[in-house]
Subunit: 418 residues, 2 copies
């Protein structure tokens, strides 16, 4: 595809495509560290890794949101077989498709995780990334709330495994079942009114309280503080007399109580938590960073019991969360929690050859060290030892072995720390 003919005059650009990242070794070590904390934590809870192509039929995303929205917010195109293709913007539809596709053979409950890259098509001027990696963890086929308890425990453990202590983050929790019950049985709203009010609550902290109240009153006449279902609130006892609200609140309280009992004490009910995706049906949660410079939602998830019914009659209940690499990387930088060893190379030792005559012995030493589990380069540039040491230092290699005439003769060598 490429040639190196000499009549090239237009130099090629050195930049990656707009909005995506190059990962040089020092960036890759950070990324691999994040991936390894994710994988180890998930696998310790018995989650198995899966993956799929980033290419998906566009229909997978258009099922309910319409062609226009998909083509505006995603990378979508038409292939030569007249198929509409999308670079996946999220992983949940893919894993739902895969699980639904084998729902008769797969052993449920099924615990799955993946670290896919995801794409979104932002307008060029926003400066946001167009590709990022996201851990996805899901349990399929478990109806009781031990699914939510386990996933929130894992979310908390991931934070702790990154070194972020419980005082520094908060797990906000709510329930779509509860919200929906309040909407229909307390405010007596229809589906459309309920959707509108939820969207408004979701954007509440982006407007003044006056603006919020005005807009809310356009949807419902009820005047008290919206969704304030804390024990101390006005109207609490009255709302709790309604069975749908009482049952949903009881389930939520039980989850919080169990998590507190297991030592996860930073879980708090947040009656204004909504979360974006429409597919949630039960408990929802969000991990919130309390750092003063990074005060924001890091990631979240919830139960989506009806999504798999889009693929056929046999429904499979489901619950999961997603966690992006960019957000967690920023948090780790804010807390200065990236391990110091990430600044070193994955290579342990550089063997420096004085001349051509040193190489065969140097290669033997390298082979022995590799057999013992060390990562070893052999420098065959035959530059001055000083230059070869500088090269090893620049690469971040912590140890060197110099092989010259003497080492070859005596078949022995010294390991020097840099």
């Amino acid at each position: 595809m490429y040639t190196t003919m000499s009549n090239n005059t237009n130099k090629l650009s050195l930049e990656p495509y707009k909005g995506v990242r190059d990962f040089y070794p020092e960036d890759m070590r950070v990324l691999n560290y994040i991936f390894s904390v994710w994988s180890k934590t998930l696998e310790s809870y018995g989650y198995e890794e899966y993956n799929a192509s980033i290419l998906e039929p566009s229909e997978l995303y258009e099922a309910k949101s319409g062609e226009e929205i998909v083509s505006e917010q995603t990378y979508s195109f038409i292939d030569r077989g007249e198929r509409r293709v999308t670079l996946r913007p999220e992983m949940t539809p893919t894993v739902a498709r895969m699980v639904a596709g084998r729902r008769r053979e797969l052993p449920f409950p099924l615990r799955l995780y993946s670290i896919p890259s995801l794409f979104r098509y932002d307008r060029p001027q926003t400066g946001r990334l167009r590709e990022h990696f996201q851990l996805n963890a899901d349990i399929f086929g478990l109806t009781n709330s031990h699914a939510e308890i386990e996933l929130i425990s894992i979310a908390s453990e991931i934070m702790k495994n990154f070194g972020i202590t419980e005082e520094n983050f908060e797990i906000k929790i709510s329930s779509r079942k509860l919200i929906n019950a309040v909407m229909s049985d307390w405010y007596e709203l229809d589906a459309e009114g309920s959707r509108k009010l939820q969207k408004l609550i979701d954007r509440k902290n982006k407007m003044s309280s006056e603006e919020f109240t005005t807009k809310a009153r356009e949807i419902t006449d009820d005047a008290f503080e919206f969704l304030s279902l804390r024990h101390t609130s006005e109207g609490y006892e009255e709302a709790m007399a309604l069975p749908s609200i009482r049952d949903a609140k009881a389930e939520l309280d039980e989850v919080i109580k169990t998590l507190h009992k297991r030592g996860i004490t930073n879980v708090v009910f947040d009656d204004e938590l909504i979360r974006g995706f429409d597919y949630y049906t039960g408990i929802i949660f969000e991990v919130f960073d309390k750092h003063k410079d990074n005060n924001r939602a890091l990631f979240g998830g919830g139960r989506y019991d009806e999504l798999l019914s889009l693929f056929g009659e046999d429904n499979v209940p489901a619950c999961g969360f997603g966690m992006g690499d960019v957000t967690i990387m920023e948090a780790l930088k804010a807390y200065d929690l990236l391990p110091k060893e990430l600044s070193f190379s994955t290579t342990d030792i550089a063997i420096l050859c004085i001349d051509e005559e040193s190489i065969e012995y140097a290669e033997r030493v390298a082979a022995e060290l590799r057999a013992e589990g060390s990562n070893v380069i052999v420098n065959t540039t035959f530059k001055k030892v000083g230059d070869q040491i500088k090269h090893a230092e620049k690469l971040g290699i912590p140890q060197v072995i110099v092989i010259g005439e003497n080492e070859v003769k005596t078949e022995s060598y010294l390991v020097k720390d840099l």
Copy 2:
């Protein structure tokens, strides 16, 4: 983006996009095994991992091959910022771009590897995969042939680390420098004639020897066996009297001799080895499977000293190889070399709970076992023990612990092998 409103009548397809693969846990374990052999071998030789987005500006591939070829063979489209974007069909242009972009800061020689996914746009009817993973290993900034010797040693070691013994594969080696010298100084062909004859030799085993000879004579009148530069061949001494041919052959012989001396005895000169990419400038090689049912090239590489000059004045010499996951997977299946443990789950133990009262103790046991490094699921379905055991077996989990009233009371448990 997704909703679960109940008026859904058109069921979504369960199939992935045409020509790409879903990786369920059992597939992912095989893929991860291949990736881990690749990574461990490369890192043991001091190669550091890098990565980049699958999205690249189309210009990166069009530089020398023209817009038409790129848009016919790749996934290419135009984004809303009027940029032409391509899903990368190979990794070499990307790593060349990245290294050229930092050529003033990076420490050379630089050893890099990556396991990117690559895309090609085959016509739908061919049935070939449109996405695959490929190990890419490269050394930048080393002009002497220790680069080639190291990369061929690594290629050989990867094969052995997969369990494929030296009798079962062959490393075919040649030199573009030698081929070019023969073309220009022996056949006295111009650049165009040289290119044509090389393309013809590359397809030689796809035609009869009569057809080959006829077509070759259309390019040059010379009638003897093409490129037969083995010591026994007619014309050998005469060709070797030409300095360009002699020097290129001497370099090639030295590489082969060194590899033989290091115990890599299955390296053979193949005067008909050409390899597809136009960018090669020196030694080229190909690992060839000798299995009777899988008799074909598995992967290969070579030196491409001029590619980075496309990005600017400061050139960087380079040498590398690529190795696809599909090809090696087929070879491992042909030799029955996939480790048996890949049929087991990455989860070690399933803890089975008899009832709600068992859970808190079960979770404590799970936490202790996880702290000791085990991967543990807690089954909270409260199904019959027999059903929970079947579930663990189906997942491929080798051990179970049953927690009931007695275990809770005595705070003790038994580990059972399945």
